[in-house]
Each structure stands twice: as structure tokens, then as C-alpha cells.
Amino acid sequence: MTAIDSALQPAHGTAPDHHAKPQGIGRWLFATNHKDIGSLYLWFAFSMFIFGGVLALCIRAELFRPGLQFWQPELFNQFTTLHGLIMVFGAIMPAFTGLANWMLPLMIGAPDMAFARMNNWSFWLLPPAALLLLLISFAVPGGAAAAGWTLYAPLSTQMGMGMDLTIFAIHIMGVSSIMGSINIIVTILNLRAPGMTMMKMPMFAWASLITAYLIIAVMPVLAGVVTMVLTDRHFGTHFFNAAGGGDPVLYQHIFWFFGHPEVYIMALPAFGIVSHIIPTFSRKPLFGYTSMVYATSSIAILSFMVWAHHMFTTGMPATAQLFFMYATMLIAVPTGVKVFNWIGTMWQGSMSFETPMLFAIGFICLFTVGGLSGVTLSIAAIDIQLQDTYYVVAHFHYVLVAGALFSLFAAVYYWFPKMTGRMYSEFWGRFHFWWSLLWFNVTFFPMHFLGLAGMPRRIPDYNMQFTDFNTLASVGAFCFGLGQLIFFANMLHSLRHGRPAAARPWEGADTLEWQIATPAPYHSFVEAPDLEVGENGRIDAMHGGKHH
């Protein structure tokens, strides 16, 4: 490659350093190439996934039996809090940003992300934030934040300095994700190759675009509310202090104005990924592309109107409960359209079941289970009973683990050949899927029953009657965790020793990233190609387009 690079440089080279592939640690520290930054994001997200997973296993170890085994309740609360924060802000969101970085320019025919140096900055803000959250905050007096990932006041206004570190970490991660989102929006809106119109764009680009708008709309709200917590803690304000005329419920209102769209920030990119994998392995175009675009947009808009369904027990008037209940149920409509379209895509398709497809189908089945328990929880009368029980824990792990995480696995397996030029081990990929599917359900399905029986979440001890299901869930969690090491080993091994991949390893893959060499050239689409594009980014013809 290097020889070709230098050979091509004079033809295009105004700035030669933009065309050479940098070497050593500087390649990563000063990375401006969207593929390098995408890889950094993905590795960072994976390491955070392992950290957050270890915290989850600490929680499950304690809950293996009733009574206190390993941790004091204070430390247990820190584990639940940090597990949530790290998985949301450290693992899932950066993983989707990483995939968007890697794939968007390839899918829409852009040379790179719009603002390469800002891209570098938005990644390199993340490790310090993770360090603040993970390593340092456990070491300070009073330990890490222990108010739950929602950081509800008045708990969060009373805790030790671990909470301050968490607030700063959230600020930094917020700035990072806002910059990342600006990059995504500008890239998609301004850098599409000729012929790649908005209503022909790949679903993953649509999902990333809408997600990026959601992030820009709500991350500042989160920053605002944690800033209020900060000033309540240190500067004598009384936003959430009832004694000073404030209101702790106000915190929940502002937090969930961020928090509910955040749920879709973690779900919409997953929808986008699945909308490529299902058509590819069904060898059929995506069913109802236009309705998919509109469904994604309406989910995003509706997500701003349902926040108070997280607060049914705060003493809301019945009118408000009814409004939020029906508004929440309404979200099931566009979501149902999506599930219908995916199934419609598979209908009479010539399907094959490689690992990405398995994860995508697993996603559809289990995400739907999580969606159904979500509709159950949206009913105010039921939610009042189930608030803060393990039913809620079961619900959001079905949509976040079997939803977001499974789609991420699917995406990594799907694009691994394009990223690395090598194939992963299909056997171990499938093994990873079936293993994860089994133990995921062993872990989280019993939690529905625990919640219905009244077991509260975020408590290190429990009544004897809950023992069996908790033991089962703990066994499942440890096995599930073990399975992720298989994934790690498969990726590491295939990176070096995998069988070389073809430019289009999947017969049914028809988007732009499969039209270029494998592995993707370091500088792809230096000159934009002329495209004839069908729906969902299907490339009918490509003219021109240069890489090096």
C-alpha cells in the first residue's frame, strides 16, 4: 500500500502528510483518519464494556445468595451506578459513534468525516472522562457516585466528592458526544457523493443522522441538570432542595427530558444496522424503506413527549399520567412498523444464517420482548406496582443488551471483513451468538418474575423467596460474561490469522462500502464517485471515485 500511496501522491498531493499512513503511537494520538478514529472508538467501547461487565458480575456475585456476602451496601450501590453510567456513556454510545465514523464516509462516498481534527478531539476526551469515572472516583473518600445512573437529587446533592468527579465526567463525555454528532450531521448533510440523495441514503446513515440530532438536543440538557446538582452541592443554590424552595421532583423532570431520548440514542443506530443486515442475508431489498425513514423520525420526535412515564409514582395528576401513558404507547406504533418491515424483508427471502444475521434476528426477537414489557410498563396503573422492581431491570436489559449490544455484535461481524481484510471464524461467531442468546435469557428472563413478585432493584440483599431466580440469574450472568471472551479471542485471532476476505464477502450486500477494495483503503473516496443509487443505499452503478 505504501508504495502505491507514494506513487499516487504527486497527482493529488498538496499536503503529502494527509496521504501517507502515519506510523507509531502518533497515528493514534493525532489520528484524523475516520477509520483510525472509528477503531479507537470501538476499542475504547469494548474495554468499557469489559469494565462495566465486571461491575455487573460484582453485582450478580452479591445477589447469588440472600444476605451480604462480598460488599457493603454502599459499595454495591457504587457498582450499580457505575455499571449503568459506563455501559451507557462508555460502551454503547461510543461504539455506535465508532461504527458511524468507520462506515458513514464509506457508505455515502465521503473522503472522511467533515471535521477531522474535531473528530480526534471528540475521541480523546473520552479516556480522561472514563478515568475520572472509573479509577479515580473509586479511590476518593466516600467512593464513587452511588445514587444510581440517574443521579437523582437529593441523593446526588448529598454524596461525597465521587459525585463531583462523575458530574465532570458527564460534562466531558457530553462535549465529546456533541462534537461527534456535529461531525456526523455535517458529514451526512454536506459530504454525500453525487447521486446519494437523502431518500436513497442507507438506513444506517439515516439512523445516525437522527441520533446525532437527538444527542445535540438532549446532551446539553443533561449537562444543565448535573450543573444544577453541582451548584446545589457547592454554591448554595437550592434547585432541588425543598428546604430552600427547590423541588427534588424538578430534577427528575429535567433528567428524563434528557433520559428518554437517550434511550432512542442507544436504539436508533441499532435499527439502522439491522436494516442492512436483514436485507443482505435475505437477499432482498429492505421492505418499506420510506416508512422506515419516517418511523425512525417519528420515534425521535415522540421520544421528547414521554419523559414523565419514568415518574408515574411522583404524585402526578391523573390527566398527566393518562397523557404520558398514551403517548408512550404511541411509540409502539412506529416501532411496530419497523419490526413488521424487517419481517417483511425476510418473507420469502433466500435467507442464510451467518453470524451477523443470527445476531440481527436475535435482536428482532429479543428487542420485541423488551418492547412488549415496555408497553406493559407504560400502563400507569401497572407501572405504579412495578416501579423500581426487577421487572424494569429485565425490560431495559432486553432492549439494551439484546437490543443495542446484539446489534453492535452483528455490526462488528458484518463489517469486520471490510475493516480488517480478513474473515472472522464463522464457527466461533455462531458459537458466540448461541452462547450469548442462551445465557442472556437465563440471566434476564427470571428478572421479570422477580420484579412481578416485588423484588426491588439496587438493593444488595433480598428476601429468601427470591433466592432461586437470583441464583439462576447470577449463573447466567457469569456464563454470558465468559462468552464475551470468545468474541474477544475470535476478533484478536482473526485480525492476524483470519482467512483473507473478498471485497464483497456477503452475496447480498449492495451498499457503497462493498464496492471498494477490502480492507477499505486508508484514504477512500478521495475523489467522490458518481453514483446511481437505489433505496437503502443500494448502488446500481458507480463511476469514478479514487482511493489511496
Binding site: 467533515a114 471535521f115 456533541i178 454528532s181 456535529i182 450531521i185 455535517v186 448533510l189 454536506n190 459530504l191 453525487p194 447521486g195 440523495t197 445535540i216 438536543a217 438532549v218 446532551m219 446539553p220 440538557v221 443533561l222 449537562a223 444543565g224 441538570v225 444544577m228 434547585f239 425543598a242 424538578l250 423532570h253 429535567i254 427530558f257 434528557f258 395528576p317 467522490a528
Partner: protein, 180 residues
Amino acid sequence: MDKPPATLHDNRLLLLKLLLLACVMFVFAWGLIPVYDALCRLTGLGSLQRPDEVGSQRLAATPLAPVLLTFDATVQPGLPWQVRPLTRTLRAVPGEFVRVDYEITNASNRQVVGQAIPRYLPAAAAEYVKKLDCFCFAQQAFAPGETRRFPVVFVVDKNVPAGLDSITLAYTVFDVPGRS
């Protein structure tokens, strides 16, 4: 065939617009506070700030029958308190301010902190007894052997149902462990 390719200028302009949107949303988070406040005022949802109404103009015209009030106090066996109402019973017209005194003694030789919990009989009477001052509003610390008198000031609401002609107000005093 397409619009001309975006220039660096276009990209920067969009960047600035999106940054502005982020800033607006940050301000919006703070703006939610007055919005919620106004909404609660407008709809009367912030019931904490609603003034406590005693009686109503409608009923004040007709004289109301007096209600028989009985005062009592109990202590769980083994706890160091002696609690005694100085008035056992009285009759009060709804709307009239009533003041009774309770005498509480710490019968132990150590410093103790107590918390009184009121009870009403019938329980439905609770919402018609509007207390203005009560020792049960706060925890009370006692030196060894100390005796103190506390007033209880209240009004029986004028909206009290006609059938409710007798109310018993009973206090139970509990130890607050770990606070000495």
C-alpha cells in the same frame, strides 16, 4: 445534476448552527425551571404551595355543634418516657383555636431523644384536626430525669362532617436510637 459540492464554508456554517442548537438546549434545561413553575401555578399542581384552608365561608354562617375532644398518650413498654396530657377532655366549636398541654418526663438517667407520633380516632378525623403547633413536629432531646411541658395548638376544621362529634387525639412517644 446535483447541488454543487459543499465547501469548507458550508461545513463551518452548519457546524456553527449545530453548536448554537447545543447552546440553546443547554439554556433550555435551565428554562424548564420557570416553565414548570408557571405550569404548576397555572394548573394548581404544586399543591405544596397551596394555602391550608381552615373552614369555609359557606359554613361559617350557621353555628356548629361543639365536638368532644379526648386527649391520650401511650408509651411502648420498656421505653423511658412518661407522657401525660394535662387536659383529658374538652369541647370545642369547629373553627375555634384550642390549646392543650402535654407533660413529658424522661424517666431514665441518660440523655434520650424522642419522637411523638399522633393518632386519631376515628382515623378519618385526622384531616379535620389542623395542628398549628405540636411537639410531634420535631424530635425532642431530654436530659436525664428532665420534665418539660409542650403545647399543642390546633383548630377543628369547619368542614367536619355532622356525624363526627367526638375525636380522640392520642400520642405515642418513641425512642430515637443512636441520637443522644
